[in-house]
Subunit: 321 residues, 4 copies
Amino acid sequence: MNSLGVFTSGGDSPGMNAAIRAVVRSGLRNNMKIFGIRHGYEGMIDGDIFEMNGCDVANIISRGGTILRTARSKRFMTKQGREKAYENLNKYGIEGIIGIGGDGTFHGLKDMINETSFKTIGLPGTIDNDLFGTEATIGYDTACNTAMEAIDKIKDTASSHERIFLVEVMGRHAGFIGLETGIATGAEDVLIPETPTDFKALVKVLEKRIREGKKSAIVVVAEGDEMGGAFDAEREIKKLSNLKTRVTILGHIQRGGSPTMRDRVLATRLGYHAVEALLEGKSGVMVGICKGSVVFIPIEDTFNKKKIVEQDEIKMMPFLL
Amino acid sequence: MNSLGVFTSGGDSPGMNAAIRAVVRSGLRNNMKIFGIRHGYEGMIDGDIFEMNGCDVANIISRGGTILRTARSKRFMTKQGREKAYENLNKYGIEGIIGIGGDGTFHGLKDMINETSFKTIGLPGTIDNDLFGTEATIGYDTACNTAMEAIDKIKDTASSHERIFLVEVMGRHAGFIGLETGIATGAEDVLIPETPTDFKALVKVLEKRIREGKKSAIVVVAEGDEMGGAFDAEREIKKLSNLKTRVTILGHIQRGGSPTMRDRVLATRLGYHAVEALLEGKSGVMVGICKGSVVFIPIEDTFNKKKIVEQDEIKMMPFLL
Amino acid sequence: MNSLGVFTSGGDSPGMNAAIRAVVRSGLRNNMKIFGIRHGYEGMIDGDIFEMNGCDVANIISRGGTILRTARSKRFMTKQGREKAYENLNKYGIEGIIGIGGDGTFHGLKDMINETSFKTIGLPGTIDNDLFGTEATIGYDTACNTAMEAIDKIKDTASSHERIFLVEVMGRHAGFIGLETGIATGAEDVLIPETPTDFKALVKVLEKRIREGKKSAIVVVAEGDEMGGAFDAEREIKKLSNLKTRVTILGHIQRGGSPTMRDRVLATRLGYHAVEALLEGKSGVMVGICKGSVVFIPIEDTFNKKKIVEQDEIKMMPFLL
Amino acid sequence: MNSLGVFTSGGDSPGMNAAIRAVVRSGLRNNMKIFGIRHGYEGMIDGDIFEMNGCDVANIISRGGTILRTARSKRFMTKQGREKAYENLNKYGIEGIIGIGGDGTFHGLKDMINETSFKTIGLPGTIDNDLFGTEATIGYDTACNTAMEAIDKIKDTASSHERIFLVEVMGRHAGFIGLETGIATGAEDVLIPETPTDFKALVKVLEKRIREGKKSAIVVVAEGDEMGGAFDAEREIKKLSNLKTRVTILGHIQRGGSPTMRDRVLATRLGYHAVEALLEGKSGVMVGICKGSVVFIPIEDTFNKKKIVEQDEIKMMPFLL
């Protein structure tokens, strides 16, 4: 293989730049031509493609976001859009493709695998950590630490004013961020889609706490909890009690920022092995981490199978109460 | 003077603990008895008062929130409530009072000055920086840095996705936080109550930017802008254009967190001088900082007169555009 | 089992407080009496022991250091010292012991196992990550992130002045911190005890870099590299070249600070399972994490067997060059 | 005036990039040609000069270091070197010069003023805060916060191990960083060049503390204290007592990192006014901040007159003891 294209797609996540850097550096080291594709599948369709050298990735390992930009692409979901994209890749002589993103990105890669002979590799880049086949996704650790630090700050106010705060964290389909930041901040409860929310029990716990003298509390709510987000949770609590609550939505701050050590190292390892995999002729797989080792997972498994939150940590939830 | 009471009231702000520490340490050094009053005026009415020693303030200089807790008190607005409070202060033999807070706190102090012979001193503790007579309030610098760091993170996503973000910062009546964090993050515009918001001009600027190739933008909106908060701004922009915007409300993270160097030093200086002022027989004043020096301002001036944002920095706003 | 004692020993590490909290909370939940032992084995010998309740551990999950204090104890290495300690434990009716620390702490636990019938459990608390039988030790993730952020700052100066910085990180016997922070900061090279240091090759790489135009560089040096620390490395480089280098020793900042999400969650899990293990009658083991699952390792294995750095990451080192 | 050149010189400081950005943006806004000069006076002599546009300064407001690089120049101290530099400036048609740096930078500007007709303006860019005529220098606030956060971390270990730490901060000729970080971290003492160090008194205080039960302590030492740095202080303490101390040198981490809100706003204001000043025909002055307002100080005053530390804060020092 003499040339590869790399792109980021879907929601941005911290560490995407570190992954791009590792891909570019590993590729150049193996005397390949490296092409950056801007704005994910959109740039593939529009031909927004450029050759990258070592300078393009200098000092980006510590930066949030993605220098290749990102987007969601409806056009790539059409046959016509994809054909335009394949044409562009051929025009540049690109043989291998490395796509960094989540669920949506990998669906696109699957189409490519089915329809073309490009060698394609996926790298898990999403803060949500909800891809089957890898213990950790690039950006997850940073997002959790950002959310945790924000909740630490909110705890100052919660305890100064003796208030109950419902803090909504990201996680549309999964409770990874919610569960681990809840444990890490000593939250009174964590509402995540993986476990049924029992508001009666929650209200009882909070009321008991107040009677015992601890008048402030943090309840972490995953945006995708089956009962809804933090405002919905507040409504339910108000139906059942006179508890005074405040809602804070952490929002987009969870996506950005300089990646943590772990996300930078993970991105570097996965980027390195993505290039190695292409050179060995692998295709149609995501490079992931499983039990500390690099593994290769069929791309369709990453979205067809379901990754579950750490069951052992679920036990820490009642422990918190 | 042999004894003093200290309390925090209103919204908590980072550095309140550093101020409490300085008051306690300075008081003890001058052989005074120091009483902590919990929950602001509420604790004064309820007699939630305890004697403090050096250990009570050990290692709190770096902590957000307030160890004395805080509250807003409706009861202190009644004659009856205040009389109960005065009774309690007398019961403990408290002669001097140091109240740390904002506008509302100082209105309470003014009542006390009018109705009693307690010597009373106010310390400016609010993230909003909107008290006349002091260049800086305790907590303002930390809140600005927290907001700035959050916006830095949002910029990663804004530029990765090429989106326009409307970021709402605190400031119900004043644009201090908005103006300075807007300058510090290189925002495209800042909407603050002190300046009229011209949405037509804003839309024009944003559209021009996009034509020129810069497709991401940050607009900082003070929650108290005369046109409303960030969601209101978004509505206006949508009326005038097809620009795609996202709203993020930074919310309560701006109140908490470990105080910055400047807030700790400011709180220490003001706390120290509050005790000195009581010992010199001063009363009815707020201790503030003006042009780098400690000053004493009649407490009623702090809320009757209006502090304005730095006019020189207003010039930096068009500069940003 | 009705009562347990918990202590921290050896060098402090971020997350020790989270572990103490989890032990105390889990124990109380199981209706046990929990005793805190101050200053590690020293306090055991001196009878510096107190009963703990839920309030003692409120809000400590986010704090660095250890509320139980820590120390190294020569007296516990003597038969006489240990007997005094056992006597004290018996006096308080303590049946189970949970010791949080590293190598030295576990040697002490081993003596206790050999000489008494106390049930003893070890928790890995050290920033160095060099205990066999656990993928991660409590404090390692935080220390790495602290070191990484410090090196990020030094890179600003390195690239502004176009200088070569030799940055010494902790790790007396192991290169875990050095290797992962080196990868995470995009260092030009990493000198760790696990790999032989070839200064000629290093000088050649640095000189090549300069010729190619990149005039700044970071070389991360583990304090325990077989060639010595950063000052020793500088001396060797000067012998072989005219390269101008600067040395920075990161030092004790790596031990402190609020723990990361990962260290808090790890400490909570291990603390929870330590209590469960005691209740199940386990003894003589360290609770660790292996491939994501909680495991129990004979305490003597933790120091008799050698944990090695991730071999896959070693490959990232030449990649960096 | 139609064109200006901008450069950074001497030690780098956080906020230099924000100042460069403000100069470039303000200049372009006034339809000037802006030239960046790399490596300070070195680049002026070598002709390392390039025209800058808006893109060159995009997103640099949040970055530490300086995109123009910096250096100290011996050649500019020679007549011959300076003539070469002037020639280059003329070659590019540069009429105005804005130099960002400290003492050494301003001596160079003074030569330029004496020998040429270039309009020259200085901006105070140094972490040391030791330039006469301005309350604050660009980078000082960030350096103090970095040092403070590092000392906060060291306090975790100091109090866990009950040790005395001597922490050396930057400040070769002045105690600004030492004094304010000492106050902000609740240090037991601060050793700065502006006040005589009485080791006997210091030892007495530390010994008294230990007798009273507080066994940990932080002593902040400015590297330029008249008695020497932290290692020298340790030696003196050991001569007079059996106190066990540890030394940590914070070093270069104090120079780098993303600038604080205050440094970014200060740099933006000063950069803006530097361009305005040139347009008004001013020359031979430093733009500074005095009592909150922008002021213009004859360049020779900045190094011939001595700026002193805040005397009011000196009073906080014994208060700390």
